[in-house]
């Protein structure tokens, strides 16, 4: 039912993947509550459990403020769980009163089938995996960034009540690791990291030895250098049955970014116009959309150039 989907297309603000200061993070969520035309806001730490304590004290007021603003609030959880204290935190998140986004299968074990969201770090690439997680309590699946349109189409089609979410703006996380590359690049280790990831609110640039921008280091994760942008593809995604459209927080004016995507979803802005307005907000970071087209991930396929 594409038309119905069109009317109800939800815009979401994914979890903040970078390490911003507690104040910056709090103010960002206050702005999300007050000004951002998003339906859902994912809070919680996905990348590194060492970052968690910094924001712990601010979380309750942030959650209250977002809920008061009518937002659905989701607690995103760690993408790679290894330490006993991380297992404990996963259990606590699963037992708490908020909707949980599971990003490591550990979370599914802790949830015991209670309603939840499957995050992009749990591989749901096919209908077999999709149907299994849906049967076991998932009501929404955020697809992996690598999923091409051909897969999204199959997964969003005949999904029944299951909601499907796709990342449409922000750096794409390409890998997660145990070792902290952000610390390593600064001559430190994960245990002695001094939270150097906090120095780079949009991640640490890594170029090739010949000087081309290629990757972004963000703590234990590695991201695309470019922003994944699926503006021209919003219509197609809606028609496929995608219900939720995720914006990943970057150190740019996310209120304006959200407004552009909302207006495009609502048909108030043509994708080309929206892109022309988005570019100045995000310079000099390039755009990528190769995964969507099943091509080289870092490529930008500009099929819609006027």
């Amino acid at each position: 039912m594409p038309n119905e989907n069109a009317k109800t297309a939800k815009l979401t603000l994914g979890p903040l993947l970078h390490h911003w200061t507690p104040e910056a993070r709090r103010d960002f969520y206050f702005r999300a509550a007050d000004e951002m035309p998003v339906d859902s806001v994912y809070v919680g730490e996905v990348i590194c459990s060492k970052r968690e304590p910094f924001f712990q004290d601010h979380l309750p007021e942030v959650i209250d403020r977002l809920k008061s603003a009518g937002k659905e609030v989701v607690m995103s959880t760690l993408a790679l769980v290894t330490q006993p204290r991380e297992v404990k935190a996963i259990r606590e998140a699963a037992d708490a009163d908020l909707i949980v986004e599971a990003n490591d299968v550990a979370c599914l074990e802790a949830l015991h089938g209670r309603p939840h969201i499957i995050g992009p770090f749990i591989n749901v690439f096919n209908e077999g995996a999709r149907d299994f997680v849906a049967k076991n309590g998932a009501f929404r699946v955020v697809l992996p960034v690598e999923a091409p349109a051909t897969s999204i189409k199959v997964l969003a089609d005949n999904a029944g009540k299951l909601e499907i979410e796709v990342l449409v703006f922000g750096k794409q996380t390409l890998s997660i690791a145990m070792r902290c590359y952000h610390a390593r690049a600064n001559g430190l280790t994960k245990d002695s990291c001094q939270f150097v990831c906090g120095l780079d609110p949009n991640g640490l640039n890594a170029t090739t030895v010949t000087g081309d921008d290629i990757l972004t280091i963000n703590g234990t994760s590695t991201m695309s250098n470019g922003y994944g942008v699926l503006l021209h593809e919003l219509d197609a995604l809606r028609t496929m049955g995608v219900t939720h459209f995720r914006l990943s927080p970057q150190a740019v004016d996310m209120v304006d970014v959200a407004r552009l995507f909302r207006d495009t979803l609502d048909g108030k802005l043509a994708p080309g116009e929206a892109e022309a307005k988005l570019r100045p907000l995000t310079e000099p970071v390039p755009y990528v959309n190769g995964f969507y087209y099943g091509r080289v991930g870092l490529s930008w396929n500009d099929r819609h150039a006027a």
């Binding site: 790679l80 299968v105 209908e127 995996a129 690598e146 999204i152 997964l155 145990m178 070792r179």
Partner: protein, 330 residues
């Protein structure tokens, strides 16, 4: 006493390597079908169905086991190849299948409940809760742990789960959470998760630049070395990048994992099986590494102290490491 010893598990990239591994003393081999259903989908490697049937028969005649890796993630609408692979592994009499995808695990558990299921490293299960999930939902009997845990962490997982634990003993160091790494497809468009080929040779080029050689994956330069220095194979996680103004191996050096000297510690940690990596390697390589590990494992069993074989000539970059085992990656 045999059942208490560590199982030595060897790669078998083709039928010749399977025989060589078993003759060199492997307790079991793992292999895959010649398609994208396994994570080493490279030209000229792997088994067709007849070869699998013959391979299993040969292994069983020597008292060895065959584990079939069907450990990639099927794209939506294309699960048939993976289902066929499981049906064929069962038909061939394989001792177990090594799986990663939730949809594939679900199929195998329902269709072939008596076919033993192991959890592939590609599932990236690195803690007791995750492992219990796969045990509870799909009846998985053994888990292959990611190469990111220290010996103490391995011991903790073994104790908490009571599962059979398989770890890597020799091969490359895998710094990323495997099965969830999209670096290679970011550069080539071909996905290791669904196509089973990380940094495929078809996308690798070397370009001369004065006194240097650039190694590239797709259009991305992954290293620059002096001519004659010998460049390591360009994979995205063993490449040289520039960050914080310095060029370096920001993820991991080109270096080989070698656990030959810590076998007693791994055994004490509760490890069941020791995996040697390298289905893409020659049968001579496989025979040499398996022999070295066979001797070392036998020495561990008899309590004999002896010096272990030197495998450094076979190692990536000629250098070796204990990886995460000793200190972890903290």
């Amino acid at each position: 006493m045999t059942h208490h010893s560590l199982e030595l598990l060897s790669p078998a990239g083709n039928p010749a390597a399977l025989r060589a591994a078993i003759e060199a003393g492997a307790d079991a081999v793992y292999c895959g079908f010649a398609d994208r259903t396994n994570a080493r989908n490279y030209p000229g490697l792997n088994f067709d169905v007849d070869e699998m049937v013959e391979g299993v028969a040969f292994a069983h005649s020597k008292g060895a086991k065959v584990l079939v890796a069907i450990n990639t993630f099927p794209p939506a609408g294309e699960m048939k190849s993976w289902k066929d692979a499981i049906d064929n592994a069962a038909m061939a009499g394989a001792d177990a299948v090594i799986l990663a995808d939730i949809g594939v695990l679900d199929y195998a558990a329902n269709k072939h409940p008596n076919l033993r299921r192991h959890l592939s490293v590609q599932a990236s299960a690195a803690n007791p809760l995750s492992i219990n999930y796969y045990r509870d939902q799909f009846g998985v009997k053994r888990v292959v742990l990611p190469r990111i845990l220290s010996v103490d962490e391995v011991a903790h997982v073994a104790k908490e789960t009571g599962m059979e634990i398989e770890v890597f003993g020799y091969g490359s160091v895998g710094p990323m959470s495997e099965g969830r790494c999209f670096l290679s497809s970011y550069m080539t468009g071909l996905s290791p998760t669904s196509e089973g080929a990380c940094a495929p040779a078809s996308h690798v080029t070397y370009k001369e630049e004065g006194d240097f050689v650039l190694s590239c994956l797709g259009d991305v330069v992954l290293n620059r070395v002096a001519k004659g220095e010998g460049a390591a194979y360009p994979t995205p996680c063993k490449a040289r990048y520039v960050a914080c103004g310095k060029a370096g191996y920001i993820f991991e050096e080109p270096i080989a994992l070698n656990a030959l000297d810590i076998l007693p510690e791994l055994k004490k940690a509760g490890v069941t099986a020791l995996k040697i990596e390298g289905r893409q390697r020659s049968k001579a390589y496989v025979a040499e590494v398996v022999s070295a590990f066979r001797k070392a494992l036998d020495a561990v069993e008899t309590g004999e102290t002896r010096s272990t074989d030197d495998l450094s000539d076979l190692s990536e970059g000629g250098r070796q490491t204990f990886g995460a085992y000793k200190k972890g990656w903290r």
